[in-house]
C-alpha cells in the first residue's frame, strides 16, 4: 500500500517515493475501516460460519486463489497508484489478504464464533471464509475511502503505446483513472488493456455486492419456486438494469468510462457486463457449495437468480470503483 501524494513532499528527499510511517498507518486504518464496512454483513451471517465448518480444504484454497486474482485486478486498475508494477500489486494483494485474515480472526473471536475449544480445521475454515470477504473490503476501502488525495501518478506501464510521450510517474497527470483512457477522439476499437481493466472492475463490483447474498439460503429457496418465465423475466431485468446503470442513469463516471457512441456500444457493454455477472454468480455459488449435488437446471436457476445482484454490482462497480 502507498501513502497519499501529499506525503511526497516530506523532507526525506533521498527517497522521494518512500511513504512516511504515519501515511502508511492512515492507509491501514482506511483499509481496516473498509474491511469492516464492506464485510460486516458477512461476519454476522450464520451461513458463512457454517460454510467455514463444512468447506473442504481444496475449495478454501480455490477461494484464496480466486480472491487473490480479484485483488490483483482491483489493485492494478483501481488501486492507489497507477504506476504500480506487477510486483507492487502482488505485495499489496498479499498485505490485504493478511489483514483480512487477521481482522476476521479478531472479530470472529470477539463475536464468539471461534474459540480455543474448537478444532484447528474449523477455526481455519471460518477465518478463511470470512477473511476473504474482509480482504476485498480492505482493498476497496484503502483505495476508495481516501477522499482528499487523487493518489494517481502517471499511466500504467506499457498500456498506452499510442501515447508514448506521456510523462511517467508525474504527479500532474490529468488522467483520473488507472485504466488506459481513450484519447479524446474515440478510436474505432478499444485496446485489450482498456477492456480487461473494465471487466476487472466489473468483477470486483459484482463480487462486492453479491458476496453477501450468495451464501444465504434464500437463493436456493427462490430458485426452487421460480418458474421458467420468472427466470426469463429475471434475465431481462438483469440485462436492463445493467444497461440502465451504464448508459442512462448519469452515474458518476458514466460519461468518461463508458463509450456510448452508437447502439452497438450499448449492446456490447451490456452483454459483457452480463457475462461478468453470470461468471461471478456461478463462481460464488460454487464456492459456497450451492452446486453440490444439484442438477444442471437447478444450478442454472440459482445462477440466474443471483445474477441480478451481481449485475447491479458489476455495472455500478465498473463506474464507481474507478478513481475518477
Amino acid at each position: 500500500m502507498h501513502a497519499s501524494q501529499d506525503l511526497h513532499d516530506a523532507p526525506d528527499l533521498a527517497a522521494p517515493q518512500k511513504s512516511s510511517v504515519p501515511g502508511s498507518l492512515a492507509e491501514y486504518g482506511r483499509g481496516l475501516a473498509g474491511g469492516l464496512l464492506f464485510s460486516l454483513p458477512l461476519l454476522y451471517t450464520m451461513e458463512m460460519w457454517d460454510m467455514g465448518q463444512v468447506a473442504q480444504p481444496l475449495r478454501l484454497l480455490a477461494g484464496i486463489g480466486g480472491t487473490f486474482f480479484l485483488l490483483l485486478g482491483y489493485n492494478r486498475y483501481a488501486g492507489l497508484r497507477c504506476d504500480a508494477g506487477l510486483r507492487e500489486v502482488m505485495i499489496d494483494s498479499v498485505e490485504e489478504l493478511g489483514l483480512g485474515f487477521l481482522l476476521a480472526a479478531g472479530l470472529l473471536a470477539l463475536l464468539g464464533v471461534i474459540d480455543a475449544q474448537m478444532s484447528a480445521p474449523e477455526i481455519v475454515g471460518k477465518i478463511v471464509v470470512e477473511g476473504l470477504a474482509v480482504a476485498i473490503g480492505v482493498s476497496v476501502g484503502t483505495a476508495q475511502l481516501g477522499g482528499d488525495s487523487p493518489g494517481l501518478a502517471g499511466d500504467p506501464d506499457g498500456d498506452k503505446p499510442e501515447q508514448p510521450q506521456q510523462e511517467r510517474g508525474g504527479e500532474s497527470s490529468a488522467s483520473g483513472s488507472c485504466i488506459a483512457r481513450e484519447p479524446s477522439q474515440t478510436p474505432a476499437v478499444h485496446s485489450p488493456a482498456w477492456l480487461s481493466g473494465q471487466l476487472s472492475l466489473a468483477l470486483c463490483g459484482a463480487v462486492l455486492v453479491a458476496a453477501s447474498i450468495a451464501p444465504t439460503d434464500e437463493i436456493h429457496e427462490i430458485s426452487v419456486r421460480a418458474h421458467l418465465l420468472h427466470l426469463l423475466a429475471l434475465t431481462g431485468l438483469t440485462l436492463g438494469v445493467g444497461a440502465l446503470v451504464l448508459y442512462s442513469s448519469g452515474f458518476r463516471g458514466a460519461t468518461t468510462h463508458v463509450r456510448h457512441r452508437d447502439r452497438i456500444d450499448v449492446v456490447l457493454g451490456t452483454v459483457s457486463t452480463y457475462l461478468v455477472s453470470m461468471i461471478a454468480s456461478a463462481a460464488l455459488l460454487w464456492f459456497f457449495g450451492r452446486f453440490d449435488g444439484e442438477q444442471f437446471d437447478m444450478g442454472l436457476a440459482q445462477t440466474v437468480v443471483l445474477a441480478l445482484p451481481t449485475a447491479i454490482g458489476a455495472s455500478a462497480g465498473r463506474l464507481l470503483l474507478q478513481s475518477s
Binding site: 500500500m1 518512500k18 511513504s19 491501514y28 498485505e95 478444532s119
Partner: protein
C-alpha cells in the same frame, strides 16, 4: 531486481501478511492431501452421570460428546442413548447435533429419570446428513 520503495511498517505488514497467507495455505494443502477423501467417522462418548444443583432429584444429566475423526463434516447428527437395566430398555433419549465438523467434536447433555450407572447406558449414532 529492484524492490518497490516502502517504509519499515509496510514491509512488516507485508511480511506478516505473507507469513499468515503461506501458513494458512500450507495448512489447507496438508489437510486436503491427508483427509479430504475420508468420509465422516463418528464416535460417541458418554461422561459420568451427575445431578445438577437446584434441579429435581429425579433428574440425572449425562454428558455426551460426539467426535468426528473423518475428513468430511457431518450435519444433523442424530444420537440415541438407551438406559438398559436387566435386559430391559428403561429410558430412551435422542439428541441432534447441527454440525460435527471434520476432525472436531461437539458436546451436549441428556437427562434421565432413573439414576443410570455408566455401564447401563448404550449410545450410538442413528444417522447424519452430508452437508
Amino acid at each position: 531486481m529492484t524492490l518497490p520503495k516502502k517504509n519499515w511498517l509496510e514491509w512488516t505488514v507485508f511480511a506478516a501478511g505473507l507469513t499468515l497467507l503461506v501458513a494458512v495455505a500450507s495448512y489447507l494443502v496438508v489437510q486436503a492431501l491427508r483427509y479430504s477423501d475420508e468420509p465422516a467417522a463418528l464416535t460417541v462418548a458418554l461422561g459420568e452421570p451427575w445431578s445438577p444443583a437446584g434441579t429435581d432429584l429425579a433428574q440425572l444429566a449425562v454428558p455426551i460428546t460426539v467426535g468426528n475423526h473423518g475428513g468430511q463434516t457431518a450435519a444433523e447428527v442424530d444420537v440415541e442413548v438407551l438406559l438398559v437395566r436387566d435386559g430391559e430398555v428403561l429410558e430412551r433419549r435422542e439428541l441432534t447435533f447441527p454440525f460435527v465438523p471434520r476432525r472436531s467434536s461437539r458436546s451436549g447433555s441428556l437427562t434421565f429419570q432413573h439414576h443410570p450407572r455408566r455401564e447401563e447406558l448404550v449410545a450410538h449414532v442413528l444417522g447424519y446428513l452430508e452437508p
